[in-house]
């Protein structure tokens, strides 16, 4: 299957797409470099720069939509980034329909969350620094989605990792925040290493890292190469998106301020993995084994996220595991391929609205509850925070997929697509997705009911629940509108819009169940899950953890994934490091000194030098030389090479 991919050079207004990255970057630089001098107005600059980027993004988007479908893209090369031998990497950007929807999501939802943060961070002495990091994130995220080659993507990819680290450990004097930031960066770097090796492989086989040249030549690769390449990209995607087996950092990332959780760890950055796979669809579509792996990762993670989310009592951690789970749905979508690429993107956008909505809602609850996060110690808050309650309700109904809210239009089609995979695996993945829908309804209803309904269970004297200021509730209202209408609006427009990227929809395989039946089934499990949670929790819950069975205990402990990480990587790593430090100080150096002492004992002549240093280091050199010569001999004898 020969495929040609061509992007049109940018012209007219669209040649200014670099401004999308430059404006928030400049703002971040100003905020971070001016220091205290910018404390008074810094947050407004932060909001303004993202809002301006949104307006600009909208202008570019409209311009793009005015172009013919087959030339609907704009590519510019700003300068030679790396040019060595036959490696040519431009500092190049690409604005196409896929990048366009991401730009609007990032800057649109980003503007609202920036605005909200003005209120949320009002009493924090580090507010200016916060907005500096926040702007830096937006710039890096836009570079990630706007790059026209994989090196640019990697540039933005690590850039958002940095911003994420800075914002998770924003309250760096808290040891837990500092540790969580480090954990996030490290686990992300594992994924990044995979992505980097993927880029190396691309260059070694295709001689390029630029999207059009890579995608146009995928057919020249052997199927093994495609599989390996795809798995490496998938590793990167899993790291960034908190998918199995690199999911453990995302819930810990909730140590950051809540607007961070909403923007970075729910709406945008964590969906970068989905973007990577969707962007690389030419690679992923070219190998069915690869697609199966992606689908499996998605299905497994979505169930894991649901199960763990149902057992957590921290409002932000429930939402975090919910994010893990929802991104699992998106991975399921991009793994299914074909028409499901667009479905995954729709779910990604809809999720951006309703999850940001709920995170900001959670922030509003915390704001009014003196930073309490334990849902067992809420209850009945609907009376005190009407807007938060109402807007949160929209997010809740949207995520569990009640028609006509957006989740219904975005999640249900993915479930249906899983049932249409074409062989017996349709049952496997379809049922997993369906089960996930029921579980999602259960844990989200639990969260909603325990927080806003039932008896009031907060005990401390210092908690006087109150509604947040308008600067926080207005973004909530706008996001709630998105939660309500976005899915319906996007369900037909987005697939058409993305057609130039993903190609025309192929006829789906024979579904194992009829679409109507699937719709009914998913509504039934949703209502069952929600109803069950309502019945269980409408009268509140115990304030302390209750003894639980095997499943709930495992879920509370994140299905033991943290324990496994600790036992397999962390502990041995610490011991290895300690052993090596000992070896290097006492071993390599000490061995040399020891041999020196041994010889010194037999050789009066050496002893007479009496410097101690001379003989030991001369000997150490000799030992080193002997080691090297030995290694060379070993190679010569064919042991190593």
């Amino acid at each position: 299957m020969e495929q040609t991919v061509e992007f049109a050079p940018a012209s007219g207004v669209l040649s200014g797409i670099w401004l999308l990255v430059a404006i928030p970057l400049a703002s971040a630089a100003i905020l971070l470099l001016l220091g205290k001098r910018a404390d008074k107005w810094g947050h407004w600059l932060g909001v303004l720069s993202v809002a301006a980027t949104f307006v600009l993004g909208l202008v570019f988007f409209l311009n793009l939509s005015g172009l013919d479908a087959e030339r609907r893209s704009a590519q510019i090369s700003l300068w030679d980034f790396m040019a060595v031998g036959n490696l040519h990497v431009d500092f190049g950007l690409l604005f196409d329909p896929l990048a366009g929807v991401f730009v609007l999501l990032i800057t649109g939802v980003g503007s609202l969350i920036h605005l909200y943060a003005v209120g949320y961070m009002e009493h924090d002495p580090g507010r200016r620094r916060f907005f500096g990091y926040f702007n830096l994130f937006v710039a890096a995220m836009l570079l990630l989605v706007l790059g026209n080659n994989y090196v640019m993507l990697y540039f933005g990819w690590e850039g958002v990792g940095l911003a994420s680290y800075l914002l998770i450990s924003f309250w760096y004097t808290r040891p837990s925040a500092a540790t969580a930031g480090k954990k996030a960066f490290l686990m992300n770097r594992v994924g990044d290493a995979g992505l980097a090796i993927g880029i190396f492989l691309m260059f070694a086989t295709l001689g390029t890292t630029q999207y059009d040249e890579v995608f146009g030549n995928v057919s020249a690769l052997s199927s093994t190469t495609v599989l390996v390449l795809g798995l490496l990209l998938l590793l990167g995607a899993a790291g960034k998106s908190g998918q199995f087996p690199l999911q453990a950092w995302l819930p810990d990332a909730m140590e950051g301020p809540t607007p961070v959780s909403a923007l970075i760890h729910a709406a945008t950055m964590v969906t970068a993995g989905v973007y990577l796979i969707a962007r690389s669809h030419a690679i992923f579509t070219a190998n069915t084994v690869l697609q199966t792996v992606v689908v499996s990762v998605g299905a497994l993670t979505l169930l894991m996220g649901c199960i763990i989310g149902a057992a957590k009592d921290d409002i932000k951690r429930v939402l975090a595991w919910s994010t893990v789970s929802q991104i699992g749905y998106m991975f399921l979508g991009v793994g299914l391929g074909g028409g499901a690429y667009a479905l995954a993107i729709i779910h990604l956008l809809a999720h951006g609205f309703f999850k940001a909505n709920m995170f900001l809602g959670a922030g509003s609850v915390m704001h009014g509850m003196h930073d309490q996060v334990d849902i067992r110690r809420f209850g009945g808050l609907r009376k005190y925070m009407r807007w938060t309650w109402l807007t949160f309700m929209m997010g809740w109904l949207a995520i569990i997929g009640i028609p006509p809210l957006s989740g219904y239009f975005s999640k249900e089609p993915i479930i249906a697509a899983a049932f249409e995979r074409g062989d017996w695996t349709s049952w496997l993945y379809g049922m997993a997705a369906l089960l996930g829908a029921g579980l999602t309804a259960f844990y989200m209803t639990r969260l909603f009911v325990l927080t806003f309904h039932g008896p009031e269970r907060y005990t401390e004297d210092n908690q006087h629940p109150h509604e947040s200021p308008f600067i926080m509730t207005v973004p909530l209202m706008l996001l709630a509108l998105g939660s309500i209408g976005a899915g319906w609006l996007m369900s037909t427009s987005v697939p058409d819009w993305l057609e130039p990227v993903f190609g025309a929809e192929e006829a789906p395989h024979e579904a194992v169940l009829s679409h109507t039946l699937i719709t009914i089934l998913s509504l039934v499990v949703t209502v069952l899950g929600a109803g069950l949670a309502w019945a269980m929790f409408r009268r509140g819950t115990a304030l302390e953890p209750q003894p639980a069975g095997v499943v709930v205990t495992a879920a509370r402990r994140n299905l033991y994934t943290d324990a496994i990480n600790e036992a397999v990587f962390e502990r041995p790593g610490i011991y290895l490091t300690r052993a090596l430090v000992f070896l290097d100080n006492k071993g390599i150096d000490g061995l040399v000194n020891g041999i020196a002492a041994g010889i010194g004992g037999t050789s009066g002549r050496l002893r007479r030098l009496q410097t101690g240093f001379v003989r030991s280091y001369a000997l150490s050199m000799l030992t080193g030389a002997v080691l090297v010569v030995g290694a060379f001999l070993a190679i010569q004898l064919g042991w190593l090479a």
């Binding site: 040891p175 090796i197 430090v581």
Partner: protein, 513 residues
């Protein structure tokens, strides 16, 4: 302009400065510092002029000068610079004024002579410029040996605890390496036509008997591997780097250690191409081991300067595989790495020095939560750490990426293992930052009055040029890669290797660029 004797003047200028500064009486410390700083700025200006005069697309060696020295051996004062030497000379010219300014108050606490200290720094600059500018093998050897002397006294007289031990260890390691090289230099003279001129020797290289060439290669290689240092010759560096004053440590790993990797590129590869290819697998293995081993050791350190020294050993592993992968990307990446590492690790050492000067201790456990007291300094520290872990947007990213991608095309397995090094790099940097500046404030810190003083104006002037260069070269490395590229390509031609083409695509199928 190219007729101007840049290299000889550049070499001698700091020597004259060293003598002038040494003659200033001890009481006039300020004067000595000011003259030393001014002198290093003059060297910087001259280097910039030379950089501009250098023609990137021109001859491989430029600014050649040659004066008689020892006629009976055909040893001459010959200077010439290729692109690799040029970027290293530029790095030296930038780092010395920065370090002199950073070391402004280093001597005051110890009651030692400030003029002597700053004179030693200039003397060190003289030897550094000389070793990179030399194009005569004997002259190179002489500079290679005498550069130990100023550094020995800097560590031994002005260093921290265990300075004597570290200085002697440093000296002896280097001296023994030098002896290997001396043997090889003499051997080369014998078989290479009784001359020390690099150009003539390079032409005679092909006629050297295969076995002899391999032994000669080994002599040079051991000397350079100790200097660099590569695993397993590295144990002197943490001691030396840990004991040296922070500024001198920045020069030690930032510039002096590069003599080793530079020497391999210039002398091992170009003079002994067959031996280089033959030894390459072993060198690659040493490089990869060094990356992982030193990074793990860095994670486990509790002394800031020792930690940074270990990170350098890991970085030298990257440079090593870049050199011995024999592709233009890896080679250019390795040379660029030498420059970027000088900037990034130089900055890291200098900032670490600022912390140590305040706290009076280099132990990480004596810090904790320092970001609360000195937020801006902590920010600079973090930025230096980011450069050290090669984050995109900082210069080291470009070099590390080039090394890895260039290595991958010929030795994918080594490149993959080396890539694991970027995860460990994140681990040692972030853990260092966490233990030093994050977390709850160590109560002991609040009792140290200096710890309440955030970055001073002088310190800002010190770090600003390095930070700026790191970011600038992180986004736009072309001015440097354009200079390095031709020299690396010429070296690869000497070795007799060519870049592999893309394995999957027939040339004519590729989209025309």
């Amino acid at each position: 302009m190219t007729d101007f004797p840049f290299l000889s003047i550049l070499t001698l200028l700091p020597l004259v400065g060293a003598v002038v500064v040494a003659l200033i009486p001890k009481q006039k410390a300020e004067l000595a510092k000011t003259i030393a700083f001014g002198w290093s700025l003059v060297v910087l200006v001259l280097s910039i002029v030379m950089w501009i005069a250098f023609q990137a697309g021109g001859d491989r060696f430029q600014f050649r000068e040659s004066y008689a020295w020892i006629p009976s051996w055909d040893a001459r004062f010959t200077f010439a610079a290729d692109g690799i030497a040029l970027v290293m000379l530029m790095l030296i010219a930038i780092l010395f004024p920065v370090v002199i300014l950073a070391s402004w108050h280093d001597v005051e606490k110890s009651n030692r002579s400030a003029p002597i200290y700053f004179s030693l720094l200039l003397a060190f600059e003289f030897t550094m410029i000389g070793v990179f500018a030399a194009a005569d093998v004997f002259l190179f050897y002489v500079f290679f040996e005498i550069m130990l002397i100023p550094m020995y006294f800097i560590i031994g007289s002005f260093g921290g605890p265990r300075r004597q031990y570290a200085a002697v260890k440093f000296f002896l390691y280097s001296l023994v390496g030098g002896l290997f090289m001396l043997a090889a230099v003499i051997g080369l003279w014998v078989v290479g036509g009784k001359t020390f001129d690099f150009g003539n020797l390079a032409q005679a290289a092909g006629s050297i008997d295969q076995n002899t060439a391999r032994w000669l290669f080994l002599g040079f290689f051991v000397a350079f591997a100790i200097k660099a240092p590569f695993f397993p010759f590295h144990t002197w560096l943490p001691d030396a780097g840990g004991a040296a004053p922070a500024g001198a440590a920045a020069l030690l790993v930032g510039v002096m250690d590069k003599v080793g990797t530079f020497g391999i590129l210039r002398y091992c590869l170009s003079l002994f191409p067959e031996a280089s290819r033959w030894f390459a697998p072993a060198a690659l293995v040493l490089g990869v081991i060094g990356i992982i081993y030193a990074a793990l050791l860095a994670v486990g350190q509790n002394d800031l300067k020792r930690l940074v020294s270990y990170t350098s050993i890991a970085h030298f592993g990257f440079i090593g595989i870049g050199i011995f992968a024999f592709t233009t990307q890896a080679g250019t990446g390795a040379v660029l790495y030498m420059v970027n590492h000088g900037l990034a690790t130089g900055l890291l050492f200098i900032v670490v020095g600022m912390f140590i000067a305040r706290r009076g201790s280099s132990l990480i456990s004596d810090f904790g939560g320092a970001g609360k007291l000195v937020p801006v300094l902590a920010g600079v520290f973090f930025s230096a750490g980011l450069a050290s872990l090669a984050l995109p947007g900082t210069a080291p990213f470009i070099s590390e990426f080039l090394v890895l991608i260039g290595t991958f095309t010929v030795h994918p397995a080594y490149a993959v293992v080396a890539t694991a090094g970027i995860i460990l790099a994140a681990a040692y940097v972030l853990w260092m930052v966490q233990r030093t500046t994050q977390g709850e404030l160590n109560p002991a810190l609040t009792e140290v009055p200096e710890m309440r003083k955030d970055i001073t104006l002088r310190e800002k002037v010190v770090v600003a040029p390095l930070v700026l260069l790191i970011i600038l070269l992180g986004f736009y490395p072309k001015p440097v890669t354009d200079v390095i590229n031709p020299a690396v390509e010429a070296t690869m031609q000497d070795v007799g290797v060519q870049d592999p083409g893309p394995t999957a695509v027939v040339a004519n199928e590729r989209v025309a660029r």
